[in-house]
């Protein structure tokens, strides 16, 4: 036997446990290092897919509508997320502009698209084409998703500018609030159990 589906290995200290069924909202913790081993999985695929599709719509709104609008002496100006990223990418600051583009735009977009793709097929109990690739990418990009940091940045920028200008939060800010909640909810669910649930027992898949 090469795979032990009944066992769970703690990612933080390598302790091995036998999996138990958990009650609602129960969390299994490692006895050695106290890290979370796994949570009660009430992964409702329909529910998660609906949230992901909503996130996709909100993502578009959050990116095209202005997050902040300022007025001074009869002139006004507004900016959305993409304009902020391009303003940051001027001249020597290009590298940090690329970092911002990746963490605030590209990674959340990939999360929504890949999760939507995988779930769309998971509804029918099937593995999507490129399932393994999508799941591995989802796992690796997760730490680089920073929508909530953008939201806090909007708040700070509003306070910073309100000292000298007339500042109002635009529709993009409200969309970002919703997006932050949705991305947190869908990314927090451990979709890794899909590996087991859709694997078809001993079906071996070697990636892309």
């Amino acid at each position: 036997m090469t795979l032990y589906p009944a066992l769970v290995v703690c990612e933080h200290c390598d302790s091995v446990y036998r999996k138990h069924d958990l009650d609602h909202d129960e969390v299994a913790r490692c006895g050695r290092c106290r890290a979370v081993l796994y949570r009660a999985s009430r992964l409702d695929i329909d529910h998660l897919l609906a949230l992901t599709l909503t996130a996709a719509i909100v993502f578009v709104i959050a990116n095209v509508s202005p997050v902040i609008r300022i007025t001074v002496g009869g002139m006004h100006n507004e900016a959305n997320l993409l304009q902020a990223i391009s303003a940051l990418s001027q001249g020597s600051a290009l590298i940090v502009g690329l970092v911002a583009a990746a963490t605030l735009f590209l990674v959340p977009l990939l999360q929504i698209v890949l999760l939507g793709w995988v779930l769309l097929f998971a509804r029918a109990g099937r593995r999507a084409p490129g399932f393994g690739f999508a799941m591995r990418v989802l796992h690796h990009i997760r730490p680089w998703s920073m929508t909530e940091v953008f939201l806090l940045g909007v708040l700070v920028a509003i306070v910073k500018l309100s000292g000298m200008l007339n500042v109002i939060a635009g529709p993009g800010t409200y969309a970002t609030v919703v997006l932050t909640v949705l991305v947190t909810v869908i990314a927090k669910r451990d979709v890794r159990i899909l590996w087991g649930r859709l694997s078809g027992d001993t079906d071996v898949e070697w990636g892309t």
């Binding site: 090469t2 066992l7 290092c33 001027q90 591995r136 806090l152």
Partner: protein, 205 residues
């Protein structure tokens, strides 16, 4: 004391980093997801040191150099991160000042101290306060990316204040160094293998 669970190497098992499966230790790749299997992250200590030291070096220019240049109504100034904190404090927004201070100064400093401590104690194969050190590591992983806050603020202000005659704002080199510090400290935290905290002097690594 209650008996602790056996560890993976004692059972000839390796946990897959990507999909979490428990696999036989003799396999090169995970049978479920195809990712390469490692008992420990490869070259964990050397990589973590490298990222951490690089971050520490860049942390100096990121604090000394201005992160943004603003000119409002003919009055232009280049401000550093700490300068921004002081400005908020003076204008009465002590809560925002505190927020930026935590994200831009306290979080990176904490990461340097915690990761440095973890590296040194692991290299000495210390058994001191293992559970606390394991918690510290998870804490550092959790808070790390909030440091990106200042980058977002500079981006937004630069995009908004573009009134040519009345005023402009643009990013300066300091924010590049600062952004790189955040990325490098995140890479350092990801390169560190927390399982090393629990490896004994006699146990196989």
């Amino acid at each position: 004391m209650t008996a602790l669970a056996p560890r993976a190497h004692e059972l000839g098992i390796v946990g897959c980093h990507t999909c979490g499966s428990a696999c036989s230790a003799d396999l090169p790749r995970c049978p479920r997801c195809g990712s390469p299997l490692h008992r420990r992250k490869p070259d964990s200590l050397a990589r973590t040191w490298a990222f951490l030291i690089a971050a520490l070096i860049l942390y100096i220019p990121s604090n000394v150099l201005p992160v943004m240049y603003t000119s409002m109504l003919g009055r232009g100034e280049a401000s550093t991160i700490l300068h921004g904190v002081v400005e908020f404090w003076k204008s009465g927004s002590w809560d925002i000042a505190l927020l930026i201070f935590i994200a831009s100064v306290a979080v990176p400093s904490t990461k340097f101290l915690v990761l440095g401590t973890l590296l040194v104690t692991v290299q000495r194969r210390s058994t001191w306060a293992r559970q606390q050190r394991a918690r510290l590591y998870r804490f550092v992983e959790l808070i790390g990316y909030w440091s990106m806050l200042d980058v977002v603020v500079v981006a937004l202000v630069s995009a908004l204040v573009q009134f040519h005659l009345l005023g402009t704002a643009e990013p300066r080199l300091g924010i590049v160094f600062f952004g790189l510090v955040v990325v490098l400290t995140m890479c350092a935290a990801m390169s560190f293998d927390p399982r090393l905290i629990w490896d004994d002097a006699d146990g196989s690594e």
